[in-house]
Amino acid sequence: MPPSLAEAVHPAEAPAVTRAPRRRPTTARRGEGLAGYVFLSPWLLGFLGITAIPMLFSLVLSFTDYELLDSWSDVKFVGFANYHKMFTADPHYWHSVGVTVRYALIAVPLKLAAALGVALLLRRDRRGNGTFRSLFYLPSLLGGSVALSLVWLAMFSRDGAFNAFLRLFGIEGKPWANDPDWALATLILLAVWQFGAPMVIFLAGLKQIPNEYYEAASVDGASRWRKFWHITMPMLSPVLFFNLVLEVIHGFQGFTGAFVLSGGTGGPVDSTLMYTLNLYLAGFTDFKMAYASAMAWVFLAVLGVLTAAIFSTGRFWVHYADGEEN
């Protein structure tokens, strides 16, 4: 049982409870615990009704042949047939896996590097740095928005602003967003540009590093590079770890940009057919909801394993300042 809300809010009451006879506290505590759940209920009902139960339902669906408009009486259990088809008989599925892995493998490190780099530049409290921090964060506020993706599409099309810029240098650009060889790169750039959220977290982490360490290192004659590598990086590693986990999950879930840039098709020539977009198309264009559910569960399992893998590497490179290992 989680600690009751009343305890958390009113620590003052706790001594009174411990001094009271033994029978009273249990009933009182039970009442308080109930009250806690009642207060939690708006979230709890939402979680159960909108997230947990539909999720479990989709697990059941993934073993059936349900299509979106079928009546329930026609639905049959088909065992692992959806999973079997996914792994052995659907070339578009593996193609979308490839697109997503390429996207995440390139976008996540670049985004984290950009976030860390800019955070290092903006860590000192110089004049105007507050403004810069806000400006660099701005793209993240617009993050995942449809309007932004449309602007991106306009900028990186044949007659877009980017090619106009290249023409100043006599370079004839490509129709980036509409070229199957470059469309994914355009999407990656869009993701990297929105580095504001991890940047803010990096900034907070940098502020936590005591200045004495740097002063001591300066006295010992350490170069900037050594200071970065031996003070900043170890001290920042818990924050880096946090950002890495978040961005990897985020990266694999990329949807809006691909959806808008391709007009909801994953084109040109399936070059932006991200996993989540493929899943959406399976469910809503092909109406194959059972198959889409199976895809979603494989996705969840893979992301879970991936996150666990990142966690297990943590003890080799994440240092907690309080000396507590793991």
Partner: protein, 449 residues
């Protein structure tokens, strides 16, 4: 600490808070109980089918479209309510994008609207899964009167023997061209009946004379309408029951025809074609100024004209125009689970047969399906483009061939597969033969499964 709250004198303020919280909780609990009771009572009230013809009925109705359509639909429904004050409408409408996602989700949840707008891309999906009410009985009893409709148009609303959708209007594919730009180059405009080869040769001249600024024609190899008409001109069909009516060889020839056109610069490069392939009206090359023609529906010329200053014209797709047919521009269908089927049928009957509604709607939902209404509406059309497209359809009507069956379940998937594989050829990622092969295999699987 900046926020030091003053303590109440004589006793902890916390006790007070705890007490009032308990009262609050009791109150909340009671309110929640009352609330749920209220909801279930209200739900009971709706469920009762009423025998009284004057009992109040609220029908939900859902359509896609823009502001203009919303206005004319509101007005038409208001006319019905005026005649039947007990019937009111819960109207929902939205843009085309995302319409079918929402309709599918509502239907899957058993909450589909009583009346919804649908087109031939989706009619079979809903009808074959028994989500639309079979309106045959209403048709036979003339409660939905289609006696003034062209018979082929009525037939185009029948899926597996069930009358699944009532056509609101008629349209047919049309090749829309930029008259201003073409005459400025000193060339003749395209005509109905010119062959595909003629079109490509003519388009090559447009490209040359404009110095490459304006390509002669859109490459419609990803357009299922164009492929379908081209196949019909050779005595084939896109669909033959629940499989494709053509072979991979046919499709490869189609892809090759347009590869030739691109090689001769009659059609633009792949990325420009791609921007128009998704079907967005504002991105069609004839209005973005990239090409002199676009392949769409004839009635869309009205909408396209709003996006360009140039004068537009419309002719049939190239080749023998008898390959074209009177297609239902869209249908109104009734949800199987409706509680007010009779009223909904009466509303549809009113919308498709009332001359007043015909005047309000113009050609927005296609050329009126009821030919009497059409005859009354067409002379009064004020919009020059609407007039041009209805004139075109009236002229073409005598040449129309027999309508094929409504496209089968899986048609939407087939349309997107054709775009994917046509683009594979356009971007030179696959040969015509290989792309056609994959298209035919996957399309057949999509229709069968």
């Amino acid at each position: 600490m900046p926020n030091t709250a003053p303590l109440a004198p004589g006793g902890s303020p916390l006790d007070h808070v705890t007490a009032s919280r308990r009262t609050l909780l009791r109150g909340l609990g009671a309110a929640a109980l009352l609330g749920s009771a209220g909801v279930s009572l209200a739900a009971c009230g709706d469920d009762k089918p009423s025998a009284d013809p004057n009992a109040p009925v609220e029908l939900s109705i859902f359509w896609w479209g823009g502001d203009a359509r919303a206005k004319s639909t509101d007005a038409a429904l208001a006319l019905y309510t005026k005649a039947h004050p007990n019937v009111t409408f819960k109207k929902t409408w939205q843009a085309n994008a995302g319409y079918y996602d929402k309709l599918a989700t509502l239907t899957a949840g058993g909450n589909a609207p009583d009346i919804f707008q649908i087109d031939d891309g989706a009619l079979s999906e809903y009808a074959e899964r028994h989500q639309t009410l079979d309106l045959s009985a209403y048709k036979d009893s003339k409660k939905i009167d289609v006696s003034k409709f062209p018979p082929s148009l009525v037939q185009y609303g029948v899926v597996d023997g069930a009358f699944a959708g009532v056509p609101t209007g008629e349209n047919t594919p049309g090749m829309i061209y930029d008259e201003t730009a073409i005459t400025a180059l000193g060339l003749a405009v395209p005509t109905t009946g010119m062959s595909w080869e003629d079109l490509i040769t003519w388009a090559e001249q447009v490209t040359t004379k404009s110095g490459g600024k304006l390509y002669g024609t859109m490459d419609p190899s990803a357009d299922y309408k164009a492929l379908w008409i081209w196949l019909r001109q050779q005595g084939k069909q896109l669909y033959d029951g629940k499989k494709l009516g053509c072979t991979a060889d046919d499709v490869a020839k189609w892809f090759d025809l347009w590869k030739g056109a691109r090689d001769r610069k009659a059609a633009p490069p792949a990325d420009i074609i791609h921007t128009a392939n998704a079907g967005d009206v504002t991105k069609q090359l004839v209005v973005t100024g990239k090409a002199a023609t676009s392949f769409l529906w004839a009635n869309q010329v009205t909408e396209l004209a709003k996006a360009t200053k140039n004068k537009l014209g419309v002719v049939a797709y190239p080749g023998d125009p008898s390959a074209q047919w009177a297609r239902a521009a869209m249908y109104l269908s009734i949800y199987k689970g409706t509680k007010h089927a009779d009223t909904a049928a009466d509303v549809i009957n009113f919308l498709v047969n009332s001359p007043d509604v015909g005047k309000l709607w113009g050609t927005d939902r296609g050329l009126s399906a009821n030919t009497d209404v059409r005859a009354a509406v067409v002379p009064g059309l004020s919009d020059a483009n609407a007039k041009a497209s209805s004139d075109f359809e009236t002229q073409l009507a005598s040449k129309f061939g027999t309508a094929p069956a409504v496209p089968p379940k899986g048609h939407v998937k087939v349309r997107s597969l054709l775009i994917t594989y046509a683009e594979n050829v356009q971007y030179a990622k696959a040969t015509s033969a290989a792309a056609a092969d994959q298209f035919v295999n996957e399309a057949n699987a999509a229709i069968a499964g």
